[in-house]
Symmetry: C2
Subunit: 251 residues, 2 copies
C-alpha cells in the first residue's frame, strides 16, 4: 500500500442527493460547523455535491505523501490519521493525530504540494473536498469561507501548543486530556479510550524518548491517575490530569 496515488478513488462515488445522504455526511462535523456559520440548506447541498467519500483505508496505508500535488483537503470520518515528515537524515517527526470530524491537508494550501505524509493508523474513512472547487464555492457562500478561515486559524494556535518547554509529565497529560476532549466531542467516552497510535508515535509527537513515555505512564498509573493496559487507557482522575495539563492548554 505504498505507491498509490493520493486519495485513491474508491468504486465510483455517486452521491445520492436525498436527505439521508446529507444526514450521514453531516457526521463529518464539517457541515455542522458550516451550518453554524450561517450556511443555509441549499449551500450545504452545494457543498455535499463536491464531496467524495473515500475509503476504507487500513492501518499503515498512505493517504497522501509529502510532495504529492495538492488538490484536496479531507475530513476524517472514521479512524485515526497520523501526519508526519521524514527529515533528510531519515528521522520521522510526527506532526499530529487526526480524529473523526477533523480536517487534514490544511497546511498544504500554502504550496501546491502536500508538505507531509498522512498515514492511516487504523481503518479510516474520509470525506474528500477538492480545494479548488471548495474555494470557488466559498466565494459564493460567506459562511463556508468563514468556516475555512476559522479552521485554518485554529490550527495555527494548536501547532504552537506543544512548542513550550514542558516536562514530560505535563506533555503526556496535555496529550491525554486533548485526546479525551476531542473524542468526547464526537460522542465517545471521555474517560476510557484506545490509543490508536504506538508508544513510539506518541513519544515522537511529544518530542520524548519512547522510554520516557513508558516511564511517565507508569508513574501516572502508580499515582492512581491512570489505568493503562496496553493501548487501553482509563482516566481515573481526570482533574489531576487537567491540573497537570493546564499550563499547556492555557486555562
Amino acid at each position: 500500500m505504498s505507491s498509490q496515488p493520493p486519495f485513491p478513488r474508491p468504486a465510483p462515488t455517486v452521491l445520492s442527493d436525498d436527505g439521508d445522504e446529507l444526514q450521514f455526511c453531516s457526521t463529518c462535523a464539517f457541515s455542522h460547523a458550516c451550518l453554524s456559520q450561517g450556511m443555509d440548506k441549499s449551500a450545504l447541498r452545494d457543498l455535499h455535491v463536491l464531496v467524495e467519500h473515500v475509503g476504507p483505508f487500513h492501518a499503515g496505508d498512505t493517504l497522501f505523501r509529502e510532495g504529492d500535488p495538492f488538490d484536496a483537503i479531507a475530513a476524517v470520518r472514521a479512524g485515526c490519521v497520523k501526519t508526519r515528515v521524514i527529515d533528510r537524515d531519515g528521522r520521522e517527526h510526527v506532526l499530529g493525530f487526526h480524529f473523526p470530524g477533523e480536517i487534514i491537508g490544511l497546511n498544504a494550501i500554502a504550496g501546491d504540494r502536500y508538505p507531509c505524509d498522512a498515514i492511516a493508523l487504523d481503518t479510516v474513512m474520509l470525506c474528500r473536498f477538492s480545494f479548488p472547487k471548495i474555494s470557488v464555492l466559498a466565494t459564493r457562500v460567506p459562511g463556508l469561507q468563514r468556516e475555512l478561515f476559522r479552521l485554518l486559524s485554529r490550527d495555527i494556535g494548536r501547532a504552537s501548543l506543544l512548542a513550550g518547554d514542558w516536562s514530560a509529565e505535563q506533555r503526556m497529560a496535555a496529550f491525554l486530556v486533548g485526546l479525551s476532549r476531542r473524542l468526547a466531542a464526537r460522542g465517545f467516552s471521555a474517560t476510557r479510550f484506545q490509543l490508536s497510535m504506538s508508544r513510539t508515535d506518541i513519544a515522537n509527537y511529544l518530542r520524548l524518548a519512547p522510554e520516557t513515555v513508558s516511564r511517565v505512564l507508569r508513574r501516572l498509573q502508580d499515582e492512581g491517575v491512570l489505568a493503562v493496559d496496553r493501548r487501553d487507557v482509563e482516566l481515573r482522575d481526570p482533574d489531576a490530569l487537567e491540573a497537570l495539563a493546564a499550563p499547556i492548554l492555557r486555562e
Copy 2:
C-alpha cells in the same frame, strides 16, 4: 502606554487614492502577494480603500492585548512586533517576532478575541485591515481569498518548526537564519542586522534560558561563525549556520 484600545486610530487617516499612495503601501508586501495571486489593479484599489495606516508606536507599546475583541489583522510596515501570551502563573511565552511585510492577528480569526498580546519592540508602523471588510472583499476577489488562505496555511507550518527537540545551538542557528532570510526578502542585509529583541525574549521564544542564549552566542562567536556586539549581529559563516539549522528548516 498600557490601557489604550487595540489599534488606536491616529489622527484621521485619509487615504489619498492616487498612484503614490498605492505604491507606498505596496511596501507592506501584502499587496504584492495579492497581485501575484491574480488580483487586478481595480481589486487592489478596493483593498487599499479599506486599509488604515496606524502608528507610529514606540518600544513597549501594546498593539492589541489578549482578550481584546478581534476585528482586524494588520501588516507590519516598519519595525518589529512581538506576540506573546502570559500564562496563569504570570510567565511569559513569546510566540513570534514579526517584521515588515508580515501579518499579525491571523491566529485571532478562530475566535472573536485576540488570543495573545502584540507589543512593539521598536518604532512600529502598521497597515490595519478590518477583517469583516476584507472577508467580504475576498468573496468578490478570488485572488485575495487565495492569498489569505495561503498566509493562514503557511503560519500553521511555521508554528510547528521550533516544536522539535533541537539543541540550543540548532535553535539559535535556525532563528538567525530565519531572521536573515526574512530581512533579506525585504531588501535588508542578509549578513548584518540588529536584533530588535532582548536576549530574554530570544531565550523565551527559543524555549531556552537567557544564560544559554548568551553561552551559545559566545560559542558561535568563538568558532568564527558569528560576530556579536550587543544587539548587532554579523553572520560571518552563513553556510555553517545554514548547516546547523538545516534539520529544523527542513532542507
